[in-house]
Symmetry: C2
Subunit: 401 residues, 2 copies
């Protein structure tokens, strides 16, 4: 069946920035590689077979049966805020309910903060390999994007951040995923965390600390988030997507209380409010005490999957390849031999071996080609057997280069 390509009608004027709008490379690829029969290590999806579906269904039913406000417009649910205070305390983050701002997923937190901080054409400081969702958030502002490299063992190059700030850069914010970086899988060293926070205090630049993966840890207790080092300049984002399920579309921001009214106005413009029903259902799920056991299951199972992927890479991949060894999260970043084109490799991988990954360039800030020989692998969404099989297939494609 042929689909005609739709065209815009004559004379319709769109905002200027839309001329440079890029279709999300990542989502396009995920659509391609989600075809039946493809063994995909591409997406960033949690394992659906581990979702606590029954417990969540019970919580949702209970809420609808007992809370007459569950389906109405309603302010942020105080009991959920209290749960979030307890939850982030497990990450070492100390805050009050008045500093908790509930969002429709952590992505909304990014969007709201960009509106709060960023002027059209303003500066933003990010790593040169960065979460695509952040790039989509800042695109409408047509910002000046300043970048720093990332060390694959210790994280963001904070000396490079310092050099930029010393030379006069004054970004509206610095964006960073200190734990289990997407796509790199790296977590930031304690020393770099202290240095970065010291810098943003000195230069008065807010940090957006994105922490969707911090609860998924497979080794020793991770370094505490940046927010534990500063509660004025660090805006801390978290999410239930990876620890409960993405479709609850609920996350949080920990922000200075003085800014909550402004954040609320910006959020209202975006979607009025987050679902009262969903907030109550999550709260009931947490009331019932389901999360600790579920997190333990996730850490055990994802830890096994990570180990399986690391072992398979070691056994199958060429000697010149290097990869990160994540202590948390969902991704491993692989550098192949310099000169390899992983976009072309993906085409061959899908055709020859029905296996898929995300080429590194998808995460590169526009115009940067440093990641063209790299790729991101996901280990949360496939069983250990499939992971082993997938890495073997991928290794065969690479060897045929």
């Amino acid at each position: 069946m042929m689909h005609p390509i739709p065209t815009l009608h004559d004379g319709l004027r769109l905002a200027d920035w839309t001329q440079t709008m890029k279709r999300s490379v990542l989502r396009d690829m995920i659509a391609v590689v989600s075809r039946p029969g493809i063994l995909s290590l591409a997406g960033g999806l949690p394992a659906p077979e581990l979702f606590p579906t029954d417990a969540f269904a019970q919580a949702a039913s209970h809420v609808l049966a007992t809370d007459p406000r569950a389906l109405q417009y309603s302010p942020p649910f105080p009991a959920l805020k209290a749960h979030i205070v307890d939850l982030v305390a497990q990450r070492g983050v100390s805050c009050t309910k008045n500093e908790v701002f509930i969002t429709t997923g952590a992505q909304q937190g990014l969007d709201v903060l960009a509106r709060l901080f960023l002027n059209p054409g303003g500066q933003v400081l990010v790593e040169e390999t960065v979460y695509t969702g952040l790039q989509q958030v800042i695109a409408p502002f047509q910002p000046e994007i300043l970048t720093v490299p990332t060390d694959l063992e210790t994280g963001m190059d904070v000396d490079a951040v310092e050099a930029l700030l010393r030379e006069g850069a004054r970004p509206a914010f610095i964006y960073v995923i200190p734990d289990a970086h997407n796509p790199l899988g790296v977590s930031m060293s304690a020393e770099k965390r202290r240095h970065l926070v010291e810098l943003v205090r000195r230069y008065a630049v807010p940090i957006i600390e994105d922490d969707p993966y911090g609860f998924l840890c497979y080794e020793q207790r991770p370094e505490p988030p940046l927010r534990t080092l500063d509660n004025e300049w660090v805006f801390y984002l978290g999410s239930f997507s990876k620890i409960l399920a993405p479709a609850v579309r609920t996350g949080w921001m920990i922000a200075p209380e003085a800014l909550i009214p402004k954040l609320t106005v910006i959020k209202e413009a975006s979607d009025l409010e987050s679902s009262a029903f969903m907030q109550r259902a999550i709260s009931a799920f947490l009331d019932a005490g389901h999360l600790p056991g579920h997190l333990a299951t996730l850490c055990r199972e994802y830890g096994t999957r990570r180990d399986t992927m690391l072992r398979a890479l070691h056994e199958c991949f060429p000697a010149e390849a290097r990869w990160t060894r994540p202590t948390s999260g969902m991704f491993i970043w692989v550098e192949l031999a310099p000169g390899t084109d992983t976009a072309a490799l993906l085409t061959r991988a899908v055709e020859q071996e029905q296996v898929a990954f995300i080429p590194g360039h998808a995460f590169a800030v526009e115009g940067r080609s440093h990641a063209s020989h790299c790729l991101r692998l996901n280990f949360s969404n496939a069983t250990p057997e499939r992971i082993e099989e997938g890495i073997q297939r991928l290794a065969r494609v690479i060897r045929r280069e």
Copy 2:
């Protein structure tokens, strides 16, 4: 208990537009007038006692028990798109599934369209009395706001729109609620609808047609939406908030297929995607055939409440007062004697008679004072007995002026 007023820490720079940010007057007032013991005709809430809670709970349980994709990241749910095609057909709107864009409530539709069309400092054309949520959406763009008056019997002054366009105005879009205007309660005449669509075609200006209330109609079949007259320039927004429940946070846009990819990129930046679970639960609710009967109940019950409020106004309010007679929706707009200050009246109404409404100035585009002697009354969220009692109380406060 004293709450210290939080202050911003020194040196934190926010985006320029935030200096002119206004706390939502309307939400502030609703907080005040939601105090226990206040008989509120202020909000824009549907009647919670009419929510189809049991049927929705069954639908949600069914989905969680049977659909393994319900809690995962997932593309827009095709079955819900098909339901929306059928639903808008009841309003006379003809479209295909490929023109249906699912949003996290109609508010997100407004936000996404503003990003698509509006440049910083660009022009927007609205009525001088306009839904506050639209004002919040455009505020970050610091736009030039062009306004036209609204006739309380026939709607937006389309001749004034034509005059502006003829004089060279080229707004990024025109925003209008043709049916059951919030806050005015008026629906646009057929002649004005045709004239407006003819104008936007001639001058190549898109219309955002906001239609959250069109299914709630109490008399003859309403005039068809603008979208029935044009499928290129009219961007049609609808919502399940008023016909199912607000907490499902799901709405839709009908837009030209060629624009769906760009709309998708903008939406992804806002919240990645709307909840797969919620989309499936709504779809299951619709599959089960619950909506027609529920809509009939809403129209019958809200119709009774409207009639009760109109009769009470007629019996109790001073002779010089005038009000709209809505054929659909949730609001009646009242003009009191010129010179009346309804903001001051609200304070007295709450103190003396524990009754509340929204003063007209809350909806006035900044700087306009034309609505200072007006007020908005809601008739969907109180029983007929409470409505009668509320109007009697309010009339007493007005008589004491």
